[in-house]
Amino acid sequence: MKIGVFLKQVPDTETKIRITGDGGGIETGDIKWIVNPYDEYAVEAGLRLKEAAGGEVVVVSLGAARTLDAARTALAMGADRAVILDDAGFQGGDALATARALAKVAEKEEFDVVFAGRQAIDSDDSQVPQIVAGLLAWPHATWITSFEHDGDSATIKRAIGGGAVEVAKVRLPAVFTCNKGLNEPRYASLPGIMKAKSKPVARYTPADLDLDGQAGADGAAVRLFNYHMPPPRPAGRILEGETADQVKELVRLLREEAKVL
């Protein structure tokens, strides 16, 4: 099977966000970069499918040149090859522009299945995988917590709200986004890390993917601007007295002052 995994490099979750002077983005100087946590579930899902069904796992990552480090983590976990889209022409895009590029790679590579994370923890957008599936006219299933391959389809589970879980049979090729609970991603072993250094890494430009003028900022329909901090919450009030008094006061405040009860 040809198994594709979409992977994004993002700032570590502890990063203190500082906005640039012009409000056009965030300061990236001090950032510690990691593999998007949800994408680790995707890499693991790809590796387990390869172990079950044979084939190869190809990691695809669009980003700055440093995204190669993130891809190497996946190679160290056991992925076979990486495709890096770090050409300047891919930068500054939105979900649509990024998805167009990834869909072209999926076609070129003839993937039978694609795994991605449920969302990137910087953009919190949760769009690219669904767009890729739409562009390729493949089925998709988001936020999966269970995956079982069965020939030309896969049976998945996903939470659909209110505590309910949907069980669905999805025909391949398809795109799946992975949620916490799907699996426990393996750690890269030392031999794995060593081997990763010599695994094949390919790069494509927008022209290679027939996306001249449609990639990166040129192909974006959504633009973010005016980055700003959320207004600080006014200092809260710690209630005083015995428990019974505190609770009475709390309920009174919630009804009369905050008006939420």
Partner: protein, 323 residues
């Protein structure tokens, strides 16, 4: 003048409450343009009659066997066809699990972009623009969409909708051209013991941390939650300790919620938890530790043992709300 198409999600045989907020906001921003609601489902003949009162001029219904449950490719095909038929300027949906799944795919089919998860919408320099959280809510940014139409998914409970000028609410069927087979077959839906209020759509939530010490202790919240019409959530620590299922987790690796009232019991207030609930209008913290970071982020705080406070709270709610 801005024409809006508002996707009104159908679930469990009825139109979801988010329709009222979205239609009201569309009416607020349309400046004389059309507000059209669209419903997609199967056997929905009875639905949509009340949407005129919420501001819809027209209600378009796609009633098709392929849409009896949410199947991404089927709904995306149907919605994109309605968009092409209606040519709205803006397409609105909520930031529910279905809409966030559907909108990117539907928009891509008409070469359009989605401003996702916005918490505000307004008339900007180049038409309707939004504001959205980024980096787990650590900062906000303006969102401009240059495609025609512009799609936005709106986080629930972002707007207070007052009285809205009613629209005619004329109901029209739309004959979507859909395959029989989208390669997606729903085999089963596993429901828990009771249908719970969905966290991401709840207007009130009471959450417990690891101090609950057991899954059974979460029952402590049941009556208070019932009285407030609240959903029950949990911190990651409580979930990791096995006291609550992952579906109840609020936070960076769980769900992002936006209720009017969030009561955090025995939750310290780690950044990753705040990421999931920081936009809540009113936050109440109940914690034994006066130095817990949660108190820096709450509107009201009680320093105390949740096992003492919550029963007293339940009793007070019982007497006040049952009057």
């Amino acid at each position: 003048m801005t024409d809006f198409l508002v996707f009104c999600e159908v679930a469990d045989g009825r139109v979801k409450g988010s329709a009222r907020e979205l239609l009201g906001k569309a009416k607020d921003l349309c400046d004389g343009g059309n507000v059209v609601a669209v419903l997609i489902g199967n056997d929905i003949g009875e639905l949509g009659g009340g949407l005129g009162a919420h501001g819809a001029d027209t209600v378009i219904k796609v009633d098709h066997a392929a849409c009896s449950s949410y199947v991404p490719a089927a709904f995306a095909a149907a919605l994109s066809q309605v968009v092409q038929d209606q040519s709205p300027d803006v397409v609105l949906g909520s930031a529910s699990m279905v809409d966030k799944d559907l909108f990117p795919r539907a928009a891509a089919l008409v070469d359009a972009g989605v401003g996702a998860d916005v918490v505000d919408l307004f008339e900007g320099d180049a038409g309707i623009e939004g504001v959205r959280p980024l980096f787990a809510g650590k900062c906000l940014a303006g969102v401009a969409v240059s495609s025609d139409p512009k799609f936005f998914t709106v986080r629930g409970n972002s707007f207070v909708i007052g009285d809205v000028e009613a629209g005619a609410g004329d109901i029209k069927g739309f004959d979507a051209d859909l395959h029989d087979d989208f390669g997606y077959e729903i085999i089963d839906v596993e429901r828990g013991a009771a249908d719970k209020v969905e966290l991401t759509e709840a207007t009130a939530i009471i959450s417990g941390g690891r101090s609950l010490k057991s899954a059974e202790n979460f029952a402590l919240f049941e009556e208070a939650a019932g009285l407030m019409g609240a959903a029950v959530g949990a911190s990651r620590a409580a979930v990791d300790a096995g006291y609550a299922p992952h579906g109840m987790q609020v936070g960076q690796t769980g769900k992002t919620v936006n209720p009017s009232l969030y009561i955090a019991c025995g939750i310290s207030g780690a950044i990753q938890h705040l990421a999931g609930m920081r936009t809540s209008k009113v936050i109440v913290a109940i914690n034994k530790d006066a130095d817990a970071p949660i108190f820096q982020h709450s509107t009201y705080g009680i320093v105390g043992d949740l096992f003492e406070v919550v029963p007293v709270l339940t009793e007070e709610l019982r007497s006040i709300l049952s009057d």
